[in-house]
């Protein structure tokens, strides 16, 4: 009826405004939440993988018949891994508050959340990587020893290359698990997409925002899995 007003509306389409109207938060808020999630996920994964790999090596080498066969070390690591893995993340989170305060100086914010995230994910990654490393045939390790390889060389030149494709899949699985934990960590003060879904979406009965965050998380997981499978397949290409 009033063509002029229609034109004006189309010309003035303003994404941030539309976003705020639809989801009841600023677009920047979504971006910074995504940033927080990626931050926690990335660093959690890197630090968790390093610690997890060390634990996995201890599990593989100290077990019966292993290179460093040592019942005490094996038992300690094994029990530690089992205990941490049997604790729900939210319990771990609260439980390590003192440690978090000691290391980071505060118990809120995404950096502080890295402490419980790493403690939570590293035993999980350790178990997965342990399995990957155990897939390496003992014959390969025997051949390495027979060549006069040092333990470090056995790890870096034989076990890692042999297990890498399987380790990538393990890390992918671990990352998906970590993503779930970051949501809870976010809720407890770390920010991120999970936090967005819970505090803004769920508690304020903001259904569109809730759906948006779910879509984002699903896409995220799909993307991670796709990437993990691709890299792993590429590494396995010649066997």
């Amino acid at each position: 009826m009033n063509p002029a007003s229609g034109n004006a509306q189309a010309a003035a389409f303003d994404f941030p405004v539309w976003f705020k109207q639809t989801f009841d938060i600023k677009f920047e808020k979504l971006l910074s939440s995504l940033g927080d999630t990626v931050y926690m996920l990335g660093w959690g994964l890197i630090i968790g993988a390093v610690i997890g790999f060390i634990l996995a090596l201890l599990l593989v080498f100290c077990r019966k018949g292993g290179l460093w066969q040592n019942r005490v070390v094996y038992a300690v690591v094994n029990v530690y891994v089992n205990i941490v893995r049997s604790m729900p993340f939210i319990i771990t989170l609260v439980f390590v508050f003192p440690l978090t305060r000691l290391i980071v100086g505060k118990t809120y914010g995404s950096t502080a959340m890295l402490v419980p995230l790493v403690i939570f994910i590293s035993p999980y990654l350790a178990r997965l990587m342990e399995n990957s490393l155990l897939e390496v045939s003992p014959g390969i390790i025997e051949a390495a020893q027979a060549m006069g390889a040092t333990t470090w060389q056995i790890i870096t030149r034989f076990m890692l290359p042999e297990a890498l494709s399987s380790i990538v899949l393990a890390l992918t699985t671990g990352t998906v698990g970590l993503l779930g934990a970051t949501a809870m960590a976010g809720y407890a003060g770390g920010g991120g997409v999970g936090d967005l879904a819970l505090t803004y979406g769920y508690q304020r009965y903001n259904l569109p925002l809730l759906i948006l965050t779910i879509v984002i998380l699903v896409l995220f997981v799909q993307l991670l899995q796709l990437l993990g499978n691709k890299i792993s397949a590429r590494l396995r290409a010649h066997r």
């Binding site: 025997e142 051949a143 006069g148 034989f158 010649h238």
Partner: protein, 342 residues
């Protein structure tokens, strides 16, 4: 070159201890191809692994190149291992890597320069006749080719000793033969001392100069291959020798032998060397009153020599048969009476 003296090794197993080695002593001289044969579980691999310190003896001593292994620290042991190549039944290669990468590994571990590595890898690949597979992935190779890569890898660091743990057991007979020929060239052209273990007597026959026979953790017989094949003493040795030298009388002849009512002896004769045996057998045949039947005959090549095996049935008066036996012994044949059990 390798001395193993009074070595014992026991593993604690779930169902009691396993005595893998019991007071074993062997001595391998420089330039030999020394074979150890035995059935599964006899302790062969354990014995072989003593030589490069992958296994440590509970008792006894292992000396390689004048060095007592027990006296070496970890770093010294690693240096020694570079002078001892090892080849495996399951190849134990990095399947996802190229032939070049696999053969280059021991050189990289030893800190050899890139150019030198390139040169040496090319050299050993030429030796094992795989130059054209340099960039192929191991997973794309046949079993025989994989074992050639395994041998090339073991030779890369110019070892003085090569240990082979059932190197041909995963291969078909034809490929086995080509790998054995290759090992023989390694021994002759590179002067590498080879200690190999196998459960196939053909392997011993084809390339070894010395053999030790193992049973239940013990060396039950040892000696030059021709001697052991000629006069096997232990029951296991006889069983192994039988796998290449048929000393059984064909089933059809057994009834013939059993139904013979006259005095008779069945004799297993082995002649070593290229002397012609026909005159002896022809002479025997011409003995009046003596009947000679050939129940079996075969010829084996080993150690660059020939072993001819005959199974003869001698029928006649006891004295005549005894005289024939003397003549056989005088001709230098290894003779034994075969007992026909009813």
């Amino acid at each position: 070159m390798i001395q193993i003296e009074h070595v014992s090794k026991t593993f604690a197993g779930g169902s009691g201890d396993v005595h893998a080695l019991r007071d074993v002593s062997i001595r391998v001289e420089k330039g030999e191809i020394y074979g150890i044969v035995g059935f599964s579980g006899a302790g062969k691999s354990t014995l072989l692994r003593l030589v490069n310190g992958l296994e440590r003896p509970d008792e006894g001593s292992v000396t390689v190149n004048g060095q007592k292994l027990a006296a070496l620290n970890k770093a010294q042991l690693r240096l020694l291992r570079r002078k001892i190549g090892m080849v495996f039944q399951q190849f134990n290669l990095l399947e996802g890597k190229t032939v070049f990468a696999n053969v280059a590994i021991p050189l990289k571990l030893a800190g050899v320069s890139r150019e030198e590595t390139e040169r040496r890898v090319a050299e050993v690949l030429r030796f094992v006749e795989l130059e054209d597979k340099r960039t192929a992935y191991v997973s794309q190779l046949s079993g025989g080719q994989k074992q050639r890569v395994g041998i090339a890898r073991a030779l890369a660091t110019n070892p003085e000793i090569l240990l082979c743990d059932e190197a041909t057991s995963a291969l078909d007979p034809q490929t086995t033969e080509s790998i054995l020929r290759l090992l023989q060239r390694v021994n002759r052209e590179m002067g590498v001392t080879i200690l190999l273990i196998t459960h196939q007597m053909q392997v011993i026959q084809m390339i070894c100069s010395k053999v030790a026979v193992m049973e239940q953790g013990r060396v039950v017989e040892e000696g030059a291959v021709l001697d052991v094949f000629g006069r096997p003493k232990a029951e296991v040795t006889r069983r192994f020798v039988r796998t290449v030298i048929n000393d059984r009388i064909p089933e059809k002849f057994v009834t013939v032998v059993r139904s013979e009512t006259r005095y008779q002896q069945v004799e297993l004769l082995k002649f070593i060397g290229d002397a012609v045996q026909e005159p002896l057998i022809a002479q025997l045949c011409r003995t009046p009153g003596l009947e000679v039947n050939i129940l079996g005959a075969n010829i084996q090549e080993m150690q660059g020599s020939v072993m001819s095996v005959f199974i003869l049935q001698l029928i006649g008066e006891e004295a005549l048969v005894a005289a024939a036996e003397e003549r056989i012994d005088a001709a230098g044949a290894l003779r034994e009476r075969l007992v026909m059990d009813e």
